[in-house]
Symmetry: C2
Subunit: 195 residues, 2 copies
Amino acid sequence: MPNDPSPLQFWFDFASTYSYVAALRVEDACAARGVPLVYKPFLLGPIFSELLGIKDSPFNTQPVRGRYMWRDLERLCAKYRLPWRKPSVFPRNSVLAARAALGRDGAFVRAVFRANFAEDRDIADPGVMAALGGDVAPSPEVKAALRANVDEARRLGLFGAPCFVAGGEIFFGQDRLEDAIEWACGNAPLSRSKE
Amino acid sequence: MPNDPSPLQFWFDFASTYSYVAALRVEDACAARGVPLVYKPFLLGPIFSELLGIKDSPFNTQPVRGRYMWRDLERLCAKYRLPWRKPSVFPRNSVLAARAALGRDGAFVRAVFRANFAEDRDIADPGVMAALGGDVAPSPEVKAALRANVDEARRLGLFGAPCFVAGGEIFFGQDRLEDAIEWACGNAPLSRSKE
């Protein structure tokens, strides 16, 4: 008899364009297969800083990658019928949004992502976050919880976003959502061989 | 009436692990949809050198990415039922193989990729290449043709491998093969809107 699906952790940064596409797809995709979904906001900033020695997005420091990414986002949003407006500032500081998202549901996560990538609103602005229903006066506990997520991401070996983690396996990139779900369901060849 | 599919260019480096997965999938995938396939061997070395200032694979210079990639390759080869043996040397120098592949067919391309990633043979060794049926005494014209491919890759804005180019659009990564084929067939939303 098949086991219940493993939970799928969705690791994302509100500044990340490919995280936006994933965020608008992940909940329906998990629900369709009965996979429990866990939202894990984190920050790429400290990870890129340690790994690449940069204080910016690689899509800015490597313009050839940036040009590809912006075109790819248009195509992906058309493919998945998602709203899209290229943000006038990239990347936006996502610390306030990530703190506000801790313990919140998918509807809040999607609203913040849409603000950044469909409405070109500044998610680093406390007024914008408050209008979205976010807590803009995070407690020390909330700040510590976000730091703990970043530490956990580092321990897991995450080096970008989005990532999906299911059954101890990492899948990097929004285009691997389906592979992660198959893994969570025990339908991938190597996941089956573990049983 | 729908137009004929556009040709799909498959840009690959014989040293690239994800190019291996793509190389073993691309011909069947194109044939199934009537998409003409054009093999475009090139070299990532000069591109990484210019773009990233490194003389090695990013999977070696960033071990956290390398650990992910090696596990991901196991999973992908299991998913697509491809043979896989982690090569004892990575990346292998692919200049000899890339020159030998110019003007050759998919069977030769796949044989060289299998030698590197399923049989752990040194494709930089002229004896190995000769045994695979490759010309190991390239003419000045052949050398120039490979340089021209690298120049074209640079002009296109390719920054990694594999890439698929169809109808003027670039798709980076073996996991985007299906998207590239839809584009070549005019079935992607933005490709339709061009008509």
